[in-house]
């Protein structure tokens, strides 16, 4: 069982008061997560005691730093079920990891007549690279639509797959709708037509147990800072045979074997994809984050977040004019994006901020999705292991306050958003969550 009170003690930032004296209610974990003292201490200790450059170092500090850097790869490999640390490449973040596949595989291998399949709910980091890759190579981008309640449409996906499909790249969990995508099924069907599979695990890896042997994808990307780790480091998982077959992404030191005036050969995995001095301290931090989450237990975390989501649906269901977009609690992870009738999401987020509640408002880097939904922007609350039901109550109370401030229910032109312009055309509106 997750002991939230004990966990919260490890996060010094959660105790802080904001400028207006209100306690911090941090509900923006899908954007980034707070760090436990264990992660902060590990990085601090590394810089104080071991700091040195890695690889091929003969002096003691360099050897020790290299050991720690390699160990970080091993910890991440174990955390996600990779077969070895050779299948774990450290990048700057999830976006860079996705781009690595776009550059090293997409740009180099795709041609006119080939197809890339993504979903309508992809984050820009898993949407824009493929727009560009297809524009440059002449390949065709196919976008799988959603069901009416915001889930991945497997039937539509099947219809889009063919022997022309070379790559399927989808999120495991939507950062706007919270939708879980059935990764195993997506991968199985893609492999049947000979396509490779890349999964955007930015929201899923931090919040639920990951086992790439079970789900079978060829590549998976995620960021450390969304899972208690520092900013500046992300992970690309790739099956060894895939990474061996790919050209490097960035070129320079560390990723080479032998360099002459005429050419260069490449280093072994994963170093082939880690050019230059890597993110050493950040890797130590990520390793500590993995230790922390392993200690908490990912299944305990899943259960905790599921309970929070159920509670959120209950609390928000009682507030008139509030609509949660996306599927019901059974099909989503720990986030809820809401629309409030008569109050623009930016105004909502500002009023919530005045109450000490931190949420994110806007299009959440998913403009194509928002366009199809016919929504300009939403306010999104996202949870993590240190989130309490009381914090969700505070979120609800702040939404009620917004109604008060905008004097909703009193009538007048300000009550209806969208006056003056016709509502943006297109797209299925999602049905209200049950």
């Amino acid at each position: 069982m997750l002991d939230v009170a004990r966990v919260r003690k490890d996060f010094p930032i959660l105790e802080r008061k904001l400028a207006n004296g209100k306690p911090l209610v941090y509900l923006d974990n899908a954007a980034t997560t707070q760090k436990p003292a264990q992660v902060l201490d590990a990085m601090d200790r590394y810089y104080r005691e071991t700091n040195s450059n890695v690889h091929r170092s003969i002096h003691e500090l360099g050897e020790r730093a290299t050991e720690m850097y390699v160990q970080a790869h091993e910890k991440v490999a174990a955390f996600i079920g990779a077969r070895s640390m050779e299948e774990v490449v450290f990048t700057k973040n999830c976006t860079e990891a996705l781009n690595l596949v776009a550059y090293s595989k997409g740009l180099r291998e795709l041609k006119a007549g080939d197809e890339v399949v993504i979903s309508q709910m992809e984050h820009h980091s898993n949407f824009v690279p493929w727009l560009e890759v297809c524009r440059i190579t002449g390949a065709t981008l196919r976008i799988v639509p959603l069901t009416s309640d915001g889930r991945f449409d497997l039937d539509a996906y099947q219809a889009v797959l063919s022997r022309k499909t070379k790559l399927v790249s989808v999120t495991a969990m939507s950062n706007v709708l919270g939708t879980f995508v059935p990764v195993s099924e997506v991968a199985r069907r893609a492999h049947e037509v000979g396509a490779k599979v890349l999964i955007d695990g930015a929201q899923s890896v931090p919040h639920s147990r990951t086992d790439v042997q079970a789900t079978g994808e060829d590549f998976m990307a995620f960021s450390a800072h969304k899972m208690l780790g520092p900013t500046g480091i992300g992970v690309l998982y790739g099956k060894k045979e895939e990474l061996l077959a790919m050209e490097p992404f960035l070129f320079g030191g560390e990723m080479i074997g032998r360099v002459t005036n005429e050419g260069a050969t490449w280093n072994d995995l994963p170093w082939k994809f880690e050019a230059g001095t890597p993110v050493i301290a950040e890797a130590v931090g990520l390793g500590a984050a993995v230790d922390y989450l392993t200690d908490v237990g990912m299944e305990n975390l899943e259960l905790h977040e599921h309970r929070l989501v159920e509670h959120a649906f209950q609390v928000l269901g009682k507030i008139p004019g509030v609509r949660i977009i996306g599927p019901g609690p059974g099909h989503r992870g720990g986030l809820v994006a809401v629309e409030m009738e008569g109050v623009h999401a930016h105004d909502l987020a500002s009023i919530l901020n005045d109450q000490g509640v931190a949420v994110r408002a806007g299009h959440h880097c998913a403009q194509p999705l928002m366009t199809v939904l016919g929504i300009a922007s939403t306010a999104r609350a996202s949870f993590y292991l240190y989130t309490t039901p009381q914090e969700i109550d505070a979120f609800g109370a702040a939404l009620e306050k917004a109604r008060e401030v905008f004097r909703l229910g009193e009538g007048g032109p300000g009550d209806t958003p969208g006056r003056g312009f016709p509502r943006s055309s297109a797209g299925a509106h999602l049905e209200d969550a049950p």
Binding site: H344, A345, H346, D347, S350, I351, D354, A361, G362, H363, Q367, I375, A376, S377, V405, F406, R407, G412, P413, G414, D415, P417, G418, R419, G420, F421
Partner: protein, 126 residues
């Protein structure tokens, strides 16, 4: 942030609507959040704004700002209106504005400025 007059201008916007046969009809939006403002205005022979209306959708700051701005410029010569800038908008709103919300506040000024540029191009070439 949501003082009375902001909410007032949001809920009961002044100069709301669309002018028939305007001299200038221009719109702009902020795709990041869906704020959109359309301004129609009538300019007389003395290059004064005889009448102006705005229509739009978006957050309270963007809409209130448009309402306040159109009230301010009615009857004013273009030369004076062109001098309006960010600090004037912030003063009109009368509240502290964070950098992110500043974009919302300045949308109507952007539409106005672009509209005036279009007018001046048109009349310089005639």
């Amino acid at each position: 942030m949501y003082r009375e007059h902001i909410l007032d201008h949001y809920k009961h916007p002044r100069n709301f609507g669309v002018l028939k046969d305007p001299t200038v009809d221009h719109e702009a939006n902020n795709p990041l959040c869906g704020d959109a403002i359309r301004m129609t205005f009538l300019v007389d022979d003395m290059h004064k704004v005889k009448d102006v209306k705005f229509s739009g959708r978006g957050c309270a700051i963007s809409q209130a700002s448009a309402s306040l701005l159109t009230t301010r410029i009615k009857g004013q010569p273009l030369e004076e209106i062109k001098k309006l800038e960010r600090d004037d908008i912030v003063k009109m709103l009368g509240i502290p504005i964070s950098p992110v919300r500043l974009k919302c506040a300045l949308l109507s000024l952007a539409v106005l400025r672009e509209g005036i540029e279009i007018y001046e191009k048109k009349f310089r070439s005639e």
